[in-house]
Amino acid sequence: MKPPESTIGDVPISLSALTPVKATATHCPYCALQCGMSVAVDETVTITPRKDIPANAGGLCQKGWTAGELLTSGDRLTTPLLYGEPVGWDEALDFVAARIRAVQGEHGPDGVAVFGGGGLTNEKAYQLGKFARMVLRTSQIDYNGRFCMSSAAAAANRAFGMDRGLPFPITDLAGADAVLIAGGNVAETMPPFVRHLTAMRDRGGRLVVIDPRATATARQADLHLQPAPGTDLALALGLLHIVIAEGHVDEDYVAGRTSGFDGVRTSAAAWWPERVERITGVPVARMRLAAEILADAGRAVILTGRGAEQHAKGTDTVSAFINLALALGLPGREGSGYGCVTGQGNGQGGREHGQKADQLPGYRRIDDPAARAHVAAVWGIAPEDLPGPGRSAYELLDALGTAAGPRALLLFGSNPVISAPRAGHVTGRLRSLDLLVVSDLVMSETAALADVVFPTTQWAEESGTMTNLEGRVLLRRQAAAPPPGVRSDLEILRGLAVRLRGAEGFPADPREVFDELRRASAGGTADYAGITYERIAAETGVFWPCPAEDHPGTPRPFLDRFATPDGRARFVPVEHRPPEEDIDRDYPLYLTTGRVLAHYQSGAQTRRIAALNAVVPEVFVELHPDLAERLEVEPGDLLRVVGRRGAAEGVARITPAVRPDTVFMPFHWAGANLLTNPALDPVSRMPEFKVCAVKLERVG
């Protein structure tokens, strides 16, 4: 296979001149774009972008350029901690194994829970799921990706029978005539992504952005629709209504490649644009323009991000955008389609290989007898020894330490004290555990609560595969030796397995784990059977499904048929409903949350990098000038944001980029998630992060 080529031009610098000869070709530690970078470790760490990875093609944002500081951070944990005191590895592992045995002896297998993360490599995510099911035999495992990708995943599965974030190479975007992004701010979350959009616009293509804020991404758009938080679903229905009313439905495609349109056509009839305007606040004329831009495009792409997905109706919202894409005949056509913009570094691979409560490797369902038989055979156990589905992430955290819930938790690659909704309550649940074990590289806010902390290797100190937002499996190579005393998560799981069941089946070498993952995923939806480390290196990544080593991989899986039993994409009728917690007299403002360019997720990494912390050192509250005038708030005033579940303080930033009825807080610090609403989507179990009701008070 020939490595893919960039379609987005070059960065204006000579990377070869900047890149040390001994540098290791690897990938960024942060988001799902997984920008290619070279890492050279000498006295200092030198990072330069790679041009051979199409996602970034030589670009990097400040997070990527400064990632090397993570390797030399003085905050690194280098020894296991037991009740905050340094101990040896054997002592720590012995202690944890003994406590697991005691808790399970008293409360049964489900007395111990496991919580993973979307930043873990495929190997770690796989091994974590296997460890939970095979060693702990607990059903209680889920991961922070539930807070991230679950709504998009659920909607894509029900429409296409498969959830691969972008079911096309990212380079397709540059060739599109129109791209609509619903609730995504790529200019801050994954800046090099914008290069693909810029290439599209340079060719005359148009960008439409739906966001309650005029974000950095929305400001680059040809058309920005600014709905009230929690009303994206109504907006999508309104757009579909217009597409139908204006005769823009691709009837041949609908007849030939889909099922269920009649029901959706009828339900959309009740969402005429003037009704949608009143709910969303988006003028009818702008909706019409958006529909026209999509309909006029020869090739168009519709993308959703967390803004549309992180709601108690997130799955239906994504379904509404997929319905729109299907009506226009986009998915499964080369150069067009629907995709979600995956967030975390391995947010795609992390949702495929079994750290999810209802899932086994290869994107198999844990309640499917054939899937259980296949995976049990790979693991050398009886299918009936596999536990069934467990609680979803928030339900799991909410149950911790309760009479019916787990009494112990092993946590890898996540920081729920910052990132979970209703974080104050979640923190209380974590404190109530008999045993909390956290594996992390630094003393995160959650690690600070743990009975036992395992210091773990990071990113450039270990090898493994990551599956980026395109579904392209990438190789993240080790570029540096870990500090003495630090072990990889695979070594930690092996250490626990040795003590609880035996070492067999728990190698510490990522390649061995990956080879088993290939077998476990074989025949599943996310089939990695034909992917090897060598192929990834030679081909600059391989797209799953890839069932055999002589299979080229599948950049665009839906060109001929969708992954449903009849090969047709399914329309799913959905209805809008208001946010779970709407504004009222007592709490008259919407709070919506999101990210800033300089930080990543809970900030455990980026808040420890001086250059990033200098850009945004503390949490802030964005509010509109009209609201500021009414509350007599000046820029820089300290504000208290008060909601039904808690309160948080932040410095006022006054900007017309946010609606007058809405305040915005980034969630990289303790604060925003003290307020967010844990109301769950009935299908995906996604919490309603993106909208709740608050009031503002000035502090002092």
Partner: protein
């Protein structure tokens, strides 16, 4: 088990059926509709007349819906009487449908003006009316629409869009006089004129002829298609005959209950707190309340009246009107902007710091923000001009490199200021590549490349000048 009977299968009745089923799978539901059509969306009928939607694209429920949800639907069946004594409704085809709870959603009917020849004109109210209008429009060469309210204007615009010259006759002094002030009515008329609709206000129709309409004063407006849109009146005959209290509509309380506790009324046939609503949004709010009460989902559910926002649905005519648009400076603050040459008129009516009325005609970019201020009763900013002229927040990227302060951030992705680029230039960098290599500017999203080039170019130019 409760037997729920709904009379009327229009926007209100059909909505109630689905609201009830969304809450309760078991209550026995029978809906009786006089029209043979599946329930359809009346709001979209002007699209049908305009030819942008086909009749079967405006239905509210799929034909299979009733069977799938075990609802008995009697379509094309007229209800002739309510027997309150035995709690049953009687139908023209001889059925007797017993109820525990009866909901009247009989809607309203078109008012036909009492002038000679009116029978030869076409009403514009039902889907059947639309089909008749469409059939006639095919052969017609010119049309007259009588009535310059919301529906009349939509019908006139729709027919004009099909290429027919249309004259719109309106009795009052200006169009949509209930929703608009005189100037807005005037601007609207001028906008319609440009689209092929001749507006005649103060026009009193005396007779409808075979080849036109004769006005008071004797003038005849030639036409081979006359459409009547002279308003509607609530259909209350069944209720009145059954002895329920009827004023203009069927009188209901906050539970939408009539003076018979087992009979409710919703939609355009109901009169709540003195008001009969003629729009869909209130009818649907009322349906939700009745569904809450009938299924016991929320026994405290009450209807408290609706704020009305009128949106004209006519291609190339943007009009939104809400609330008390007729208030003057005596009772309120009035903010106005008028530009007739461009068909633009904007008016805000503010009382006690709240938006109580507004008109937006022409460009309606502000409509979303205004509607939500009006609906929520949120405070209006001290300077409301931003509400009339909403602008997008400017983008800093286009700023000239000369005027940009040194502290201005040029590259967001790598946090590089103009000052840093200048410093970089001062230490020898003379092109974008050198600046990028030193500062990493342009290497993220790439969006600042032009600005960086501009700054470097300007600095080089300065150098040239100073040398």
């Amino acid at each position: 088990m409760t037997r729920l009977v709904i009379v009327g299968n229009g926007m209100a009745g059909a909505r109630l059926v689905s609201e009830v089923r969304a809450r309760d799978k078991h209550v026995k539901v029978t809906v009786i509709g006089a029209e043979t059509w599946q329930p359809y969306n009346r709001v979209l009928l002007s699209n049908v007349v305009a030819g942008t939607m086909l009749p079967d694209q405006v239905r509210l429920l799929d034909p299979a819906w009733y069977a799938d949800h075990s609802v008995t639907a009697l379509l094309g069946v007229e209800v002739t009487a309510i027997d309150r004594e035995t709690q049953a409704v009687l139908t023209a085809d001889g059925r007797r449908e017993p109820y525990d709870v009866l909901v009247l959603a009989t809607g309203s009917e078109a008012v036909v003006p009492p002038v000679p020849g009116a029978a030869g004109a076409m009403a514009f109210r039902t889907l059947d009316d639309c089909r008749a209008i469409l059939a006639a429009a095919g052969a017609a060469r010119r049309a007259v629409v009588v009535g310059g309210g919301l529906l009349g204007i939509e019908a006139a615009r729709g027919l004009a869009g099909r290429g027919l010259p249309v004259t719109l006759l309106h009795l009052a002094g200006h169009l949509m006089e209930r929703q608009l002030d005189a100037e807005a009515g005037l601007v609207l008329g001028e906008t319609l004129a440009e689209l092929g609709v001749t507006v005649r206000t103060g026009a009193v129709v005396e007779e409808i002829l075979g080849d036109g309409v004769r006005l008071a004063g004797g003038e005849t407006v030639g036409s081979d298609l006359v459409v009547l849109a002279c308003g509607v009146r609530p259909v209350t005959g069944l209720a009145g005959d059954a002895g329920l209290e009827v004023a203009r509509g069927i009188v209901v309380d906050d539970e939408m209950r009539t003076d018979d506790p087992s009979i409710f009324a919703i939609g355009e046939c109901a009169q709540h707190d003195g008001t009969v609503y003629g729009l869909v949004a209130p009818a649907w709010e009322q349906a939700a309340v009745v569904a809450d009460l009938v299924t016991g989902t929320d026994k405290t559910s009450r209807y408290r009246g609706s704020r009305l926002v009128t949106r004209l649905k006519a291609r190339s005519v943007e009009l939104a009107a809400m609330g008390e648009t007729h208030l003057t400076e005596d009772d309120a603050e009035v903010v106005c902007f008028s530009h007739r040459a461009r068909g633009t008129y904007r008016k805000l009516v503010i009382r006690d710091g709240r938006l109580v009325g507004a008109i937006l005609l022409g460009e309606t970019a502000a409509v979303g923000a205004l509607t939500q201020l009006f609906d929520r009763g949120s405070p209006v900013p001290a300077d409301p001009s931003g509400l009339l002229f909403p602008g997008l927040p400017g983008s800093a990227v286009t700023e000239s490199p000369v005027r940009m302060p040194d502290a201005a951030k040029v590259c967001q992705c790598n946090n590089v200021t103009k000052g840093q680029i200048r410093a970089c230039w001062e230490s020898g960098a003379r092109d974008v590549e050198a600046v990028a290599a030193a500062t990493r500017a342009t290497t993220g999203c790439g969006g600042c490349r032009d600005v960086v080039e501009g700054i470097v170019g300007w600095l080089c130019e300065q150098e040239g000048i100073s040398v």
